[in-house]
Amino acid sequence: MAKILVIDDEADLLEMMRLVLQQRGGHQVVLSAEGHDGLAKAMSSPPDLAIIDVMMPGITGYEICRQLRANPDTASISIMILTARAQPMDRDAAIAAGADDYMTKPVIMAELLERVNALLERRTEQPPGLSGTFALMSLRGGVGVTTLAVNLAAALTQTRAETVCLVDLCPSSGHVALHLGLRPEPNWSAIIGTGDASALDAESIATYLLQHSSGLRVLASPFVPLAGQGVSQKAVMAVFNILQQQFSTIVVDAPSTLDGATMAVLEAASALGMVLTAEPPSLQTAIGTLRALSQWSPKLHAIVNQVTPGPQLPAEAIARALKHPVAATIAFDPSQARALAQGTPLALGSSDSPLAQAARSLVQAFGR
């Protein structure tokens, strides 16, 4: 039996919800006919699942959703948006606000009960949150490192949004912010780029973190590529030391170089995800990377990305070539192009998509 909070200003619908969810579904149901009241009820006694109408006087369901996600006590509850606004962009808006599912009115009660039970099941199946620093990297560009880093971080926010920070360390205009629909201002150029780490503390670093609507915090890289001497190893490590005290989980989109700063981050990481594709140049680069990073072999996970149907090297052959096990194989997901254009990672916007599922399996792979 789960505790379900329903917030909707339609009295008839509330009563029907109580009948269906309580009597047929066997759940404990709390009703609220007013948005602010519903939000207060959720904050004071967090439910397992909240079903929220969008169009309510005083506060919209989207805003309630955002406030629930921003509060550590309610950030991990499952949220279903229920609305008569039935257009595709309304679904995207609901997901961007932090909803796990979206359903349109009029409601078919059998379908509602099915979707509610599926959400509750998914909640119990969710992998536990990871603790530590996880760096994704590849010395060959274009293999989807940023996409995986963003979706891994997004998947982790589903359980503990308030404790996850995503760091874009790429000095040549990294794209993490773009994937999240954020403007990369502020970014780390003022602290890492200059190498002036002496005055850094938790408070000053917090001012450089972007806040995504999912609750994820982001340290973005500058839009304009950093020219010159590169990033300062000393400053990078100062930033990481502070971030590790503030966040239990840090996901790093590491640059395609093994300079001093990158090596320091890789050393500090609990696990490394080396991303490659099933094509000879990428495989060759991965073999070389494994040799260069042989000292960290036990914590290094090979991830074969963008696997398409057809004649390609199987994972077993790749593992033989690498002389290293393949921790995860991720299928090419054509919906990623749309997700990038919309600035909503698939792990947040389309939780059933192959890439979102792969991101959740990465959480488990790193957890091992």
């Binding site: 008839d12 969008v54 169009m55 919209t60 606004r85 009660m109």
Partner: protein, 175 residues
Amino acid sequence: MREKLSSAWLVGDFFTYRHRLSGRVDVRYNKLAAQLNDPTSSFLELEDAYVSNVEHPADIVASYTSAIFRKDNITAVVIANQEDGLLREQTYGSYFGTYLRELFITVPSFEITGYIRLSGKMDLRTVLTTGTDAFIPVLDGEMRSSIRPEVFFTGGAILVNKNQIGVFCLEAEKE
């Protein structure tokens, strides 16, 4: 257990030149199409109106407990279920002897595609000028922003204001 929660209210998306208003209309006594086509009233009342700009149609910028439209300024109304957008006499059994024709319509800010149900020989001028109905139903319609084509709305029925139509095109009849 397939019951639908229905009520005396119909929720729809109402579009003017620049805005999307989502809200509900009282349809206890008159279907929406009948209210829109009622020549004795120039206005339409909406309850719980949520306002968005058509440029950012998912962002709710304001909400009001009631709103009144001047019907001649409504460009179109998007309704999820086809039957909710039709007149009573256009629904049950009335499709005998009729056929569907694919169409393309332009109205201010939008391009609309879908189907129109016709009977007998088709004459575009007849569709646009004959009869007192101000709104024509486009079935299985899609309404796409002319300026931002990635913004579109779909519905079982789109009720289009005839007076706002710029271009009305029909596909050739299919055998």
